[in-house]
Structure formats: C-alpha cells, structure tokens
C-alpha cells in the first residue's frame, strides 16, 4: 500500500488583489447592464437634474427671505427666555456636557474607523458640493465657491486615498478621536465665521468642559471602579432632568430661615435612615419585614402630623430603601452603595424642595422655555421618564399576576391605540379638570409627562420583546440559585433583555425626538413652533414660512440622521441579530 504524503505544506496563496475597476467598467456594470436599465438611468438622470435645478432655482431665488434666519438665531435657540439670564442655559448645557464627558470615559465607545473611510467621506462631500454647484442657478453668489471647494475636496480625498495605499483600509482610528476632531473643526469654523462673540465664547467653553470631564473621567474610573460609576452616572442622568428644569425655570430667592428650620427634622431622619438600612440589610428577612412595617406606620404618621413636606417625602424614600435593602444590600458592597444612595437621595430631595418652595426672581410670564432648548429638554425628559414607565409596564405585562397583567396590557394597548396629540391634549386640557382648583402643573412639565407616558407604552413593547427572548434556562438557573423574583429580575433577566433590544430602544428615542414637535399644537414654543409661527409673524419677516420650515427640517434631519447612523454602528457592534 502506498501512502502519498505531500513533501511539505504549501504556504497559502495570498488572496487575489481586488481589481480597481475603471470608471467605464463601473458605469457599464451599475448603470447600463441591460437595455432597460440604460433607459431607466437616462430618464432618471434627466428627471433628477430637472427636479434639482427647479428646487434650487426655487430655494435660491432672490425672492426667498433667507436673511431673516440669522438675526433670529437666539429666538430659534431659546425663544423668549430672558436675555440677561442666558447664562443659565449655558450652565445647564455644561451640566449635560459634564455628564456626557464622564459617560464617554466610563462606557468607552470602542468603535474604530480608518483613514480610507474619512477620506471617502471627504471625497463624497466634494462630489456633492460640485454637483450642487453645477445645478444652482448661475446668479447664485455661492456658485463658484461650491464648484472650487468641491473640486478641492474631491482632489484632497482622491490624492489622500491614493497616497495612503492599502494602509487606508486598516481600522485604526478610534471613533472617539474622530468625533473630537470634528468638534475642534466645528469650533474653528465657528471662530472663522462672523458669529457673535456671545455665541463663540460659550461654545468654546462648553467643548472645553466636555473634554475636561472626559479627561477627569478616566482616572475617576480607575479610582472608583467602572461598575459603581456606571450606576452613579445613571442616577445622575435621571437627576439632571429636574436640576436642569429648575435651574432654567427659577432664579431662587431661597427662604433660608425656612430651610434652616428643617435641619432638626432632616438630620435625625438621615441618621435613622442609616441605622435602618444597616439593620434591614443584616437582620434577616423576617426582622427586616417587621422594621419595614414599623417604618410604613412612621411614614404615615409623619405625613399626617404637621411637619415640613421635605421630611414627609424623605420618610417615603426611606421606606423604599429599607424595602429593597434585604434583597440588594446584604453584601458589604451593596450596603455601602445603599448608604451612599441614601445620602445622595437626602441631599437631592432637600435641594429640590428648597428650590420648589423658593420664589423665583425671573421676570417672565407663562411658559417662557422655548426654541431648540425646549425641544431638547422635552426629548431628554421624555426619554429619561419613559424608561421606568416602559420597564414597569413590560414587567407587568409579562408577570404571572393576572390583575397587574390586565392593567399593564390595558395601559399599553390604549396608549398605543391613540395618537400622541390626543395624549398631549389630555395632559393639557383634561388633567386640570381632575385636579383640585389652583393646583396645575407648568405646561412644559405636563408635556414631558405626556410624552413619557406615550413613549413608555411603546418602550414597554420593546422591552417585552427582550424579556421574551431570554432563554427559559436563565430563569430556571436564577431560581436554582435561590434568588427571589426581585433579584432574578434586576440581576439576571432585565439586564439581558435591555441589552437585546438596544437598537429598538434607540429607534424609539429617535421617533420621540421627532414627536416633540407636536407640542407646538398645544401652544408650547418649541423649535418647530418658532419656525412656523413666531419668526414668520414678525413684521420684518412676513411671508418667510417656507424658508423657516426648510431650515427647521434641515436641523431636525441633521440630528435624527446622526442618531440613526450612530445606532446602526451600535447595532453592528453589539451584533445582536447575528449572535
């Protein structure tokens, strides 16, 4: 018997080099591969050129009042917010920037990109600019800059790709660095353009704050630990909403004597809270339950005894903490987190109640939040509040308890069955009918709650999808480890469910952002309303509806489009669908 053995292993052949197709071949392959595709291409090309020329001729005609937009930039940003108090808006923006910076350092988006991709984007931008330059009417002043700039960009991109060679395709550039570069570029552009100093300087400071927060965040992650910081940041994001809202709405004249008079109440409750959490986390379930019963009675007693509102609320929060303590604070780490959490909760509660009882020094009437500022506040608030609602309703709908399931299902189906505008009208016009006379919320708060209630129902369906996608073994394993239902949900099933539906949640957030424009119908002055009513109704800019609407559409488009691109990247990174 003969055995054939190869004398030595051949080295694998290198993959064939991708042939660079010439422009002609590309055209043949993609545009004229069959006769009907050829006809289609010609017809489409003629149609597109004709349509684009018409659209540009319309948009760039001398009759269009594009000049009304730059003088109204402040109105677009904040509407009628008192001008001397604009610093407040910059401060709240800085709060968001700090949180964004810390979050980016903690969660560390790890996406990478290559020079080739960036250069291709540059080249595509150049092509688009050049094409637009060809299509605009010859009288348009920006025509030559578009043609020249486009050509330069095309050249830059093409030469760059040629020079980098195959190295251009290596994904080595961190996405975060690219974003930072884009930010710096945007700053440079702002400084080069004739923009008011009152805009340039604060934006520069904001970007610096963002960078500083990110840089501080890195050593902070090492010092505190990633997990703790993630939890703390999540809470800070939720708390940032009332902080921002109160800072924008109030210039507090704090009644110090009242606040000081709380101290003899608050300090004992704080100490009692520490002791109660300590006891509840150590003493075992039975005794903890007894303590809880005691605390509930105490909270009810405090509620009906004349005492400061802050103490009544604090007692309720404490009951929540001790209820959760035996389940989640039985380890040393958990106990420490609970202590820190209780201190933080006390601090924020005192802060919020102080601001809520303080007179405001802002000289305004009615709802004075507006513009892009309000749009973002609504989006942020709606998003943050819709999460607890959505998760609660999803858990209710998948629960084994029939009444809870019935209630959650009813809520979800009813809210999903009606349009958002009716929910907004409900909050604006119907809810006040059910409240005692004199008690009514600010229009902005009502809008945020309505949007959150609406979006929460959709979110609940997404989360439910995630919960149902978790293998049964996970539940059984958690049960086998002796976990309670609360522990199983919080530690095993919910985290996995949320992770599985992140793309769907991002999609929901995008549609929430677009939906904020509906508040214009119930009379809030958000970005869309400024564009539709407020600016075109000024005497100097009558008849500029289309211009303002197009501008607003472009602004919304930029935000939603970049969200959706980011979510695509995220989806690919998580690989949820392909795992």
């Amino acid at each position: 018997m003969t055995v054939y053995v190869a004398p030595e292993l051949k080295p694998p052949e290198p993959p064939p080099e991708a042939r660079q197709l010439g422009a002609w071949v590309w055209l043949r392959k993609n545009l004229f591969n069959t006769w009907y595709n050829g006809v289609l291409t010609v017809v489409l090309a003629v149609g597109i050129v004709w349509g684009a020329r018409g659209a540009f001729a319309f948009l760039l005609s001398p009759d269009r009042l594009w000049g009304v937009i730059p003088p109204n930039a402040t109105n677009y940003a904040v509407d009628v917010y008192p001008r001397p108090e604009l610093t407040r808006i910059w401060v709240t923006l800085a709060v968001v920037m700090v949180l964004v910076g810390l979050s980016s350092a903690t969660w560390r988006p790890t996406g990478k990109t290559s020079w080739g991709t960036i250069l291709a984007v540059v080249r595509a931008t150049g092509v688009a600019a050049f094409a637009v330059g060809l299509l605009v009417p010859p009288t348009f002043v920006g025509r030559n800059p578009l043609l020249v700039g486009g050509a330069v960009l095309v050249l830059l991109g093409a030469v760059g790709i040629r020079a980098a060679g195959p190295a251009a395709r290596e994904e080595r550039l961190p996405m975060l660095g690219v974003l930072a570069g884009v930010l710096v570029l945007a700053l440079v552009v702002i400084w080069l353009l004739p923009v008011a100093k009152t805009t340039k300087v604060p934006w520069t400071i904001e970007v610096l704050v963002l960078a500083a927060a990110h840089l501080v965040g890195r050593p902070l992650v090492r010092a505190v630990g990633e997990k703790t910081l993630k939890v703390v940041l999540s809470f800070l994001w939720v708390l940032s909403l009332p902080v921002i809202y109160l800072h924008l709405e109030r210039k507090p004249v704090i009644p110090w004597e009242v606040v000081v008079s709380w101290l003899p109440w608050v300090l004992p409750v704080l100490v009692v809270g520490y002791l109660a959490i300590l006891y509840a986390s150590r003493a075992g379930r039975e005794r903890a339950a007894a303590l809880n019963a005691l605390l509930v009675v105490a909270a009810l007693a405090v509620w009906f005894v004349p005492s400061p509102m802050v103490v009544r609320l604090l007692m309720l929060v404490l009951v929540g903490f001790t209820l959760a303590a035996p389940t989640f604070a039985s380890s040393g780490n958990g106990r420490r987190n609970f202590m820190v959490g209780w201190s933080g909760a006390t601090f924020f509660l005192v802060y919020f109640v102080t601001l809520a009882v303080a007179e405001t020094g802002l000289e305004t009437q009615g709802d004075f939040l507006g513009g892009l500022n309000l749009t973002f506040l609504l989006a942020l608030g709606g998003m943050l509040l819709s999460f607890p609602i959505g998760i609660m309703m999803a858990l209710g709908r998948t629960s084994t308890m029939p009444i809870f399931r019935l209630l959650s299902t009813g809520y979800i189906e009813i809210v999903r069955g009606v349009p958002l505008i009716t929910v907004l009208f409900f909050a604006d016009k119907v809810v006040p009918r059910f409240l005692p006379p004199g008690l009514d919320f600010d229009g902005v708060v009502k809008a945020i709650i309505a949007i959150a209630l609406f979006s929460g129902a959709y979110l609940a369906e997404n989360v439910r999808g995630g919960l149902q996608s978790i293998p049964k073994g996970q539940y059984e394993a958690a049960r086998a480890l002796g976990m309670t239902t609360a522990q199983m949900t919080m530690l095993i099933t919910l985290p996995q469910a949320l992770r599985a539906v992140i793309p769907a949640i991002v999609g929901q957030v995008i549609s929430l952002f677009k939906d904020t424009s509906l508040v214009a119908i119930i009379g809030l002055a958000d970005f869309f309303r400024v564009a539709r009513d407020i600016v075109p109704n000024q005497p100097a800019s009558l008849g500029s509806q289309i211009e303002n609407l197009v501008m607003a559409a472009v602004v919304y488009w930029i935000f939603t489009f970049s969200f959706s691109r980011a979510s695509l990247r995220l989806e690919r990174k998580l690989g949820v669908g392909t795992r």
Binding site: I403, F426, K429, R532, Y556
Partner: protein, 508 residues
C-alpha cells in the same frame, strides 16, 4: 426523611409567607388603591365642573353648534353629532386614500432600493433617508404652505394646466370625477355580484388548470365575467330595485318586535359568549390524560370572562336605552337602504363631473363639479403618504431580503425569467413577512391623520378642539377621540390579523 415530609404537608406556611396569598393581596391592594384614586379624581372633576357651570352630559352632541368646518359632508353642522360625522368621514377619506397611495409608492421605492441600477437604488435610499428623518408635522405644514403660497391663483375658467379637465391652484387641485346618481346603489348590487361571480370563475379555472395542465386564462375569464355582469347591470339595474321591498320588510320587522325581546336576546348572547369562551378555554387545557391542572391565573381568566358575560347581560337588562339605540340604528340603516332602491327608478348610475370655476378665487361645493382637493387635504395627504411610504419601503426591502437566496436560485434553475422569479417566487414569500409590520404602518398612518389639526384640516382632533373650545366639554370630547381611534385600531388590526392567518404557512 419521612418525618420531614409529613411536616411539610401538615404545617401550612403562615399567611404572611404564603406566596399565593401575598400575590393576591398585593394585586387587590393596588387595584383598590387605583379605584380609590379614580374615585377621588372623578369626584374632584365633578366638583370642578359644577363650579364652572359645566356638567358631564352629552347635550353638546344634539344641541345646535355655531361652528364652520373647512370641508366635508356638513360644512355648517347643525349639531355636535353632525360635526363629528363630518370629521370622521374626512379622517377616513385621508386614511383610505393615504393607505392606497403609500402602499403603491412604498412598494415601488422598496423594490427600487434593491435594484441593480445604481442611480435608482441610490435615489430610493435618498428618498427614504430624507423623509424618515424629518418630523411628519414639518412635512405636512410644508406641503400646505407650498400650495397656499406658491401655486397659481384661481381665475374663472382660464385656470389650467388643462382648463375643464385639470385645475391646479392655491385654492386646490380639481380633477374630473364620477359621481353616483340616485340609482347608483341598484347598480352597485350588480357590481358586487359580479365580483363574487368573478371570484368563483377564477377559482374554477384554476382548478381546471391544475387538473388538466392546460392554460385556462383564469384572470381573463374572471375579468370577462365581472365586466359582463357589471355591464349588464348598467342597463338592467332597476331589477335590483326589488331589494327595496326586502329592506323595507326587515325594517318593519325590527320596528314590530318589542324592545324587551331584543333586550333579552342581547343579554342571552352576552352570557352565551362568556360561557363559550370558558368552554373553549377548558377545551384548550384538556390533554389525553384529562384536564390539566389549572393555576389561579387560569381561574382568574375564566372568572373574568364569566363576570364580563354576566355584566354585559346585566347592562342590557338594566339600561334599555342601549338596546333601543342599537335597534334604532339598525332600523335607520334598513330604512335608508329602502330609500335607495326602487323598481321604477331608471337612469345612468354614474355621472361625470368636470372641474369648472364660476366665481373667481373659489371652487364650488364639493360634489357639483369635479373632485377638488383642498390645500388642507393636500398637505395632510401628501405628508402622511410620503412619510408612511418611506417606512413601507424599508419593510418591503427587509421582507424581500429575508427570502433565502436559494429560492431565487431554484427559480432560475427551473428556467423562470427574472421577472417571473420575483413575481411568482420571491414576492409571495416576502408578503408573509411584510404583512404584520405593514399593518402597523397603516395604523400609524390612521393615527397620524390627527396632525391635520396643524393645518386646520377638519378631522376628528381639529373638530373636537373647536367644539370643546366652544362648550368646555373636554372630557367628553376626549372620550370620543379615544373611542374612535381605538375602534379604528381594532378594526384595522383585526383585518390585518385575519388576512395574516389566511396567508400564513400552515405548519405542524
């Protein structure tokens, strides 16, 4: 070992550690809390209303109202009911025409996105990405302003582009339209019958094709049958006038039967439905080894079904108004149909109306001359159509991509042409995947018509707001909104579900 087992069976856990008890206690506690909260809120609302001189009644539906609506069947409604009827018809007009247009456009764009033609697929992508990422409200207002500010003004008769056939102006777009005459319904009976017969013929021809393998032209046969019967009906429609007697008879029977008989009938039906649900539920739990163990959740469901059935019966017995409302509506419908049919009525079922302008700057009332699309309708219709089409395009694209590639290859291997593969192999399979999300988009479109309020299109939300601004009856108007939109959602989703069940693959 034995000892501990006996312990476990004999000493039940104390009440505060009994999971079943704790679960039910929590649920009932929460439910009671919610009921108390609702009671407090409602009593507060009643007190508030009284203080403002309002009440929670439905008089505004029948009282005269002094509002004007932009368009619709009653532009100057005599009562709230007429106003809402107008609004609902307007809303359904936009929804129906929007669904048709968005489906056609969406499917075309979705297929274009997968085209091998670079320019076509890129144009389709640009369309989708532009439309999807701009709030719908902006788009609707944009189209509305585009028409009212930049379309040509309306002149007498000289208005074009094709005077007498197509008029495009800032007051609206008007096209020729076929309007039903008084004998339309008699002819419609023939049209419906023709469609039914055509369906039967189509199936028969398909069967024949499958038996013999010959080409039997089922489509042509069906079309021929339909055209023949409908064409015959065009002249012979007075024959269908005999149906008028039937309708009159039914109306008379409904009027003759006393209301309490209907009350008892409806109550019995309600109880029967509840009992049937319980029986089916029990059947579904039956296994070869006997009835499966029922959890407390199962008992809750059956109990709820039973309680709902009994409650329905009780409501029918206790409140005779509901029954009389139902019988009144039924009687009205049949009496109305009776009027539409008459043995002696002759004439042409359809009449052509051509657009014309008599007074400069105004279109005549809808229905007289041509079909006129107002700027408000135009803005809303174009807005929701484009927006929904962009989403439908994505669904269609996803559905086609989800069909395994082997299907295409197998089709090509059988010698089918590319277009045949798409039509006979890919699309029918993609359709099953596409259908459920498509139904969601139709629902979204129906709900999005509520944005017509931003451009004063007289749909339900706009009319409701106008009404409650006048009367202050916000709670009632809100309930009407909710009832209507939930009904539309329910109807649309049951149609989609029914269709979905029909086209679904039958699996084991």
């Amino acid at each position: 070992m034995t000892q501990s087992r006996i312990d476990a069976t004999q000493t039940r856990p104390p009440l505060w550690r009994n999971v079943t008890f704790l679960k039910w206690a929590t649920q009932i506690g929460v439910l009671v809390g919610l009921v108390v909260l609702a009671w407090i809120l409602i009593s507060t609302a009643l007190r508030n209303l009284e203080a403002q001189g309002l009440s929670l009644d439905w008089d505004f539906l029948t009282d005269p109202v002094g509002i004007r609506l932009g368009e619709g069947i009653f532009t100057q409604p005599a009562s709230g009911l007429e106003a809402f009827a107008t609004a609902i018809v307007n809303m359904l007009r936009v929804t129906a025409s929007g669904i048709i247009a968005a489906t056609i456009l969406g499917v075309l764009v979705g297929i274009s996105r997968l085209s091998s033609n670079w320019l076509l697929s890129r144009s389709a992508t640009a369309f989708v990405e532009t439309i999807r990422n701009i709030p719908l409200l902006i788009q609707i207002v944009f189209w509305f302003f585009l028409m009212t500010l930049f379309f040509p003004t309306l002149e007498v008769d000289a208005s074009g582009p094709a005077p007498g056939w197509l008029i495009v102006s800032r007051k609206g777009v008007s096209i020729p339209w076929l309007f039903p005459t008084e004998v339309f319904w008699q002819w419609f009976v023939f049209v419906a019958g023709g469609a039914w017969a055509a369906r039967r013929v189509y199936r028969r021809r398909i069967e024949l094709l499958e038996e013999t393998g010959r080409e039997t032209h089922p489509g042509r046969w069906a079309l021929g049958t339909f055209v023949l019967i409908a064409g015959l009906g065009w002249f012979a429609h007075p024959i269908a006038g005999a149906l008028g007697w039937l309708f009159a008879l039914v109306a008379a029977v409904i009027a003759a039967i006393p209301d309490f008989a209907f009350q008892l009938l409806f109550a019995a039906v309600s109880i029967w439905l509840g009992a049937r649900w319980i029986r089916r539920f029990l059947d579904s739990r039956r296994t070869p080894a006997g009835l499966a163990r029922l959890t407390d959740d199962d008992y809750f469901r059956m109990g709820l079904a039973g309680v709902l059935g009994l409650a329905g019966a009780a409501v029918f017995v206790a409140i005779p108004q509901i029954t009389s409302l139902i019988t009144d509506v039924a009687h009205f419908v049949f009496a109305f149909l009776d009027q539409k049919f008459d043995f002696l009525r002759t004439g042409v079922p359809l009449r052509l109306g051509r657009p014309e302008v008599v007074v400069p700057g105004r279109f005549p009332q809808i229905g007289d001359t041509g079909m006129t699309m107002t700027p408000n309708f135009f803005g809303l219709w174009v807005g929701v159509t484009l927006y929904t089409a962009a989403f439908i395009a994505e669904i269609v694209r996803g559905g086609i991509l989800a069909v395994p590639k082997g299907q295409t290859e197998a089709g090509m291997a059988l010698g089918l042409k590319r277009s045949q593969v798409l039509r006979m192999i890919i699309l029918p399979q993609a359709f099953r995947i596409i259908l459920p999300p498509m139904g969601n988009q139709y629902l979204n479109l129906a709900k999005n018509t509520s944005l017509g309020i931003a451009i004063a299109y007289a749909e339900l939300v706009q009319v409701g707001q106008t009404l409650f601004n006048q009367t202050g009856d916000t709670i009632q108007v809100f309930l009407i909104w909710m009832a209507f939109y939930l009904t539309v959602s329910l109807v649309l989703s049951s149609i989609v579900n029914w269709y979905n069940r029909r086209v679904k693959l039958v699996e084991r």
